[in-house]
Symmetry: C2
Subunit: 331 residues, 2 copies
Amino acid sequence: MKKFVNDPKQFVPEMLEGIALANPRTLKYVPEYNLIMRADAPNENKVSIIQGSGSGHEPAHVMIVGKGMLDAACPGDVFSAPPMDYVLETTKLLASPKGVLHIINNYTGDRMSFDMGRELAEAEGIRVETVLVNDDVSVKDSTYTIGRRGVAGNFFVIKAVGAAAEQGADLDYLVNLSNRVNAATRSMGMALTSCTPPAKGSPLFALGDDEMEMGVGIHGEPGRRREKLANANVIVDELLEAVVSDLPYKQGDDVALMINGLGGTPISELYLLYGRAHKQLEAHGIRVQRNYVGNYCTSLDMAGCSLTLVKLDDELVKWFDAPAEAAVRIF
Amino acid sequence: MKKFVNDPKQFVPEMLEGIALANPRTLKYVPEYNLIMRADAPNENKVSIIQGSGSGHEPAHVMIVGKGMLDAACPGDVFSAPPMDYVLETTKLLASPKGVLHIINNYTGDRMSFDMGRELAEAEGIRVETVLVNDDVSVKDSTYTIGRRGVAGNFFVIKAVGAAAEQGADLDYLVNLSNRVNAATRSMGMALTSCTPPAKGSPLFALGDDEMEMGVGIHGEPGRRREKLANANVIVDELLEAVVSDLPYKQGDDVALMINGLGGTPISELYLLYGRAHKQLEAHGIRVQRNYVGNYCTSLDMAGCSLTLVKLDDELVKWFDAPAEAAVRIF
């Protein structure tokens, strides 16, 4: 296995320990619950924002805990939902009089853990609301999902809600804002290669040297179809067509455009993809007002990308532009 | 070839165009010379800082042009030094009454282009100074280098000099500061896989499934030796031993620690490596006061890492902590 790993069972705890050692003043790590939280949380003057999911999607979500972003992330093992008690204990530790917001990417396992964790937290008198992210247009239902999957679009939900929470917005406003961002956001991804989970030690799925998977999920779930490997422009155009036609995004719209790497693709290639997507959108009268290029929501070491659009309005731009601090220095 | 590419000959220009489209207000792109420069440069009140090298090491250097960093980067094609006339024209465009500083990683091809470009620029009355970065301890001479190679340590030279230049430091001070940072900095890298240059379309070198290359260069140059693949802790300890013993870094030293990804390694694995390196240094009484984890100087899509230490003093910390803006949003 060509990865940096010791005991695969310790992959997630060792990564989390590294994050904590790199951020001693701003982060707390609670090993019992895989919990990474802001050292200054909970703050009784703000709603606490929590996201949890399987690991393997870094920087989502353990590396985007910080001011104006998440208050805490409680990941499970690689590609496994966090256990219900992680959700419960995280929610208890982060309990604020203004309430707690759970942001969940739409996977059945995550929903189950968060539903149960929320119920138990509410029984202890904590007010919790839940929002779902389901931005992936590629398939209707999927291997681990009923309904659409949540992928890199979750960044925009977290960014907006994190900024608004920092300024004291209440829980109802944040639920509404989350749903507004999610409704304005669409994504689709594709894989050039499989990823290799540490505990498996071999690729999760087989993809021929001349093949690519359009619409792949971030856990290697099958997408729309397997196609013959194409050049970068063809790939961008196919992703754009699927994403633009879905909302649909229209001439005159202002959008944010994200080109997200899936973990194994260098940033040089992501900017090459960005250039094509930007020009194609502008040629269709869709104005790219904000851009995000890099690794936001990955699938371990998968070579591949996803493309996300968000239809902007003044309120969303305000929250997207607000200051934010990621827990770790991505750059 | 499993890469995002159209015509391999257009790989670098298409990437540069993407960078420029993503940063219309802060960057200028001059296609004739592969030049990415700050839109507000040259500034007659500051020395202009220029770095050039082959492409394929992004974000170095075209993505770290910005306030408090580089004023311009003029890359060559993938793993090829920029032609002499790129260096000359870039230097002319960036000419400032306070002078121009060329930062060069120590590769023979880069030195040749920059030496000749400098000579021609000086003939036109521009004051130019040159500093070399040669932080790689792995081998004395190398495939494309006489003396030690320059690798991810260049980030620290750029960061310090960029910050000082922004505050009006003169050219002599900057040359001295560059040399001080370089003298305090040591690195070593290793590869789990080869990289694949777009124009070649296949791996640059062969590495068995159970092998790794310790001391690899960022163009796939051979390192110290090929070894049997080991676990993450063993790899970190071997890199640390080589780097620490070289300066040497000693008990009581304050250091900055960088774990740099080579392009194809996910950030989850980099933080796992960071945790081990941090703990081992602290156990030896070497205090990690600043940390940098991510992709700073890559080798296309190579899976691998490098480890860099910088011995800190108050002046270096001041410049490392100064505000800086990368041209592109890495996060």
